[in-house]
């Protein structure tokens, strides 16, 4: 495949190449910091619009410098370290969550003209050909999975190192949540990898570039993988970010501030920086995996690397807005609902979908006709649905049986109906509607 590695390293590696790499690192670093500033301001503005408020409007034009002002304020605040904390771990944890957030962005291609045929996505800096991404390691998307797993340590160690009960509870929740949703996240990434046939982020964009079906529908993975992995990735990614409605980690009403309760001053700011930077990188990863990243329709007459940059940021903004929209709309999930959604719905569905895609891929390799492949997919789908329906029936009849047993028992012993209501609630028969309960 073209451009499997960065063309920068094709030539003998010398000082100019190091300069180009350093320049890219510097630009990515500054861009991320500024983008986080903008992202927090954007969140506060949009969420206040959605709540009929005005929002920050004093620092700079339209309050755009409010994050900078907050950052400066946090710098000068007193930095408290609790007496019972493990000092080294306590100081280490913020960096453990911040650095992965920075590193993930290094593998995201953010620009380049992917519509041209000779070396798509390749740009030239000071006469050196390279990709518009900091690094394009062959392991690509696995690096993202590794980094998001590493970020769990930041949260976990922050909670444990604080030597306090609420941070510990918050971090236990966080690690359970992030580990559970990593499975669904990984399975939906596997679908993408299966279809693209590559792990490299640059090559993934290459396979999605160009005209697709009827030269009109784009060749993006969201369509090629059949939408389901995209939605699973979106939900699991939101949960991975600890973003509402999955922000049980920092449920203020129950846990004060969650894992960062004991943090103050600049260490607290680092956690927030990491959280909002993760939103940007997660949005960028979704855009790259499913929506073609910088590859987009060739709508513009002047061609150039900036077309890719435009498409990338346009798509990224859609997701950043989506995250704010989620935050403004959905109430927080209960812990059991969260685990139900992850283990009972997302993981089975993504696994089944992965199997279907794998089957179709094998059919293609063996030269089956599209009718045969379609029949296989349909048959598999029917079998899956039958199994699912049987499972649901078994679950609901078991629940009904337990309820009648309870009613019988309480009628026999003459217990108060309030007690029964409590038991109903324990069984999940709450009057409030659960979120997508499997």
């Amino acid at each position: 495949m073209i451009g499997a590695t960065d063309p920068l390293f094709a030539d003998p590696f010398g000082l100019p190449e190091v300069g180009v790499v350093l320049l890219k690192v510097f630009v990515a670093f500054v861009f991320l910091l500024v983008a986080v500033m903008f992202n927090i301001w954007f969140l506060r503005k949009v969420i206040s619009d959605m709540q009929n408020r005005i929002g920050p409007n004093l620092a700079g034009p339209w309050g755009i410098l409010v994050t900078l002002a907050d950052g400066i304020k946090l710098f000068f605040k007193e930095d408290l370290i609790p007496e019972k904390s493990h000092r080294f771990v306590f100081k280490l944890a913020p960096y453990l969550s911040l650095i992965p957030a920075f590193l993930v962005f290094a593998i995201v291609p953010i620009g380049g003209d992917f519509n041209r045929t000779d070396g798509p996505g390749i740009i030239s800096i000071f006469g050196h050909e390279t990709l518009l991404q900091v690094a394009d390691p062959p392991v690509g998307i696995l690096f993202f999975l590794a980094m998001s797993s590493l970020a769990i340590y930041g949260v976990m160690l922050a909670g444990w190192g604080s030597g306090s009960k609420y941070p510990l509870l918050g971090s236990v929740r966080a690690s359970a949540q992030m580990v559970s949703y990593e499975a669904a996240l990984g399975l939906s990434i596997a679908s993408v990898v299966l279809v693209s046939g590559t792990l490299s982020m640059h090559d993934m964009v290459l396979t999605q570039a160009g005209p697709g079906f009827n030269s009109f529908v784009p060749n993006w993975n969201i369509i090629v993988t059949g939408f389901i992995p995209f939605f699973i990735f979106l939900v699991a990614g939101t949960a991975e970010l600890n973003h509402p409605p999955f922000d049980l980690v920092e449920a203020e009403q129950e846990l004060v501030g969650g894992f960062h309760t004991e943090y103050s001053s600049i260490r607290f700011a680092l956690f927030y920086l990491a959280e909002f930077m993760n939103q940007i990188t997660m949005g960028a990863i979704i855009v790259t995996l499913f929506l073609g990243g910088p590859a987009g329709p060739a709508l513009f007459v002047p061609k150039g690397w900036w077309v890719g940059v435009f498409w990338f940021f346009f798509k990224l903004m859609l997701f950043l807005f989506g995250f704010v929209w989620l935050r403004a709309t959905l109430p927080r999930l209960r812990y059991d609902q969260l685990m139900d959604l992850g283990w009972k719905l997302l993981i089975p569905v993504s696994l089944a979908w992965f199997l279907v895609l794998a089957g179709i891929q094998i059919g293609r390799d063996r030269g089956w006709s599209s009718v045969e492949v379609g029949a296989f997919a349909l048959g598999f789908g029917v079998v899956c649905m039958l199994c699912g329906a049987l499972l649901m029936m078994a679950l609901s009849s078991a629940r009904a049986q337990r309820l009648t047993d309870l009613e019988q028992a309480s009628a026999d012993s003459g217990q108060a109906s309030a007690d029964l209501g409590q038991k109903r609630a324990d069984l999940g028969e709450t009057p409030t509607k659960g979120v997508l309960r499997g």
Partner: protein
């Protein structure tokens, strides 16, 4: 499926809000540069704000240094010391006057018990609450700062955000409920005149009897919701007596 459409409805609600009118104003706390909007929302008549020390119409101070306000203060934020008036050049009409009067606004809870305790209506509350001092000395208001000026209006300190017309309503709470909030005293003036304003008119529309009479007369209570709400509140409290 119904659950899913409910979700979409929820997202539609929040999206629609983007284009709705804002309920909050563009408030900058008096820090706005020229040309920038800086709206304050109108405050209710009886709002408890920062105190003023009133004067009689002839300019004499009403405070007699009795320390009842300091005694009743639940936050212990008032410090008063009385002294004998100079017979030739009296500060207040009586024997004594308050020569030290300090309120610590880091402690004051604006309960207005001092206003109710005051026998001469010397202390009342204005509607100002936007005063963000930056050190503890500024937080303690002295007699000079609390006392109204020669025009009967409160002194305006540099860190206070007064707007046009706000300095005229300094005794709303007292005139609404005096004495002890008993509606049978409605319309009866029990306070002396103030420098610059004379004897202020009482706030009407509080008593249940008045509301009943209005209903009997066929008046629309909804015409003034504030009157209706007050009448309801007074009916429940008046029934206890």
């Amino acid at each position: 499926m119904a659950e899913l459409t409910d979700y979409i409805k929820g997202f539609a609600v929040t999206f629609k809000k983007l284009f709705e009118e804002r309920v909050t104003g563009d408030y900058r706390g008096g820090m706005a540069k020229a040309g920038q909007p800086d709206e304050k929302r109108p405050k209710v008549e009886r709002l408890h704000g920062r105190h003023v020390l009133n004067r009689y119409e002839d300019g004499m101070e009403k405070c007699i240094g009795c320390e009842l306000c300091a005694g009743v203060c639940p936050a212990k934020c008032i410090h008063v010391r009385g002294a004998d008036n100079d017979p030739d050049n009296p500060t207040s009409p009586g024997e004594r006057f308050g020569y030290v009067y300090e309120i610590n606004y880091l402690r004051c809870i604006h309960c207005d018990l001092c206003v109710e305790a005051c026998p001469t209506q010397a202390i009342t509350e204005s509607k100002l609450f936007e005063f963000s001092f930056t050190n503890r000395d500024d937080a303690i208001y002295t007699r000079d700062e609390l006392l109204v000026g020669d025009d009967g209006k409160p002194r305006q300190l540099p860190w206070e955000d007064w707007r046009e017309g706000e300095d005229e309503m300094t005794s709303g709470w007292m005139r609404a409920t005096s004495p002890s909030g008993d509606h049978r005293y409605e319309g009866i003036v029990q306070w002396s005149g103030e420098l610059g304003y004379g004897v202020r008119a009482p706030e009407l529309g509080q008593s249940a009897d008045a509301a009943d009479a209005a209903i009997a007369a066929g008046a629309e209570l909804d015409a003034d919701p504030a009157v209706g709400a007050d009448a309801d509140a007074e009916t429940s409290s008046g029934g206890d007596r």
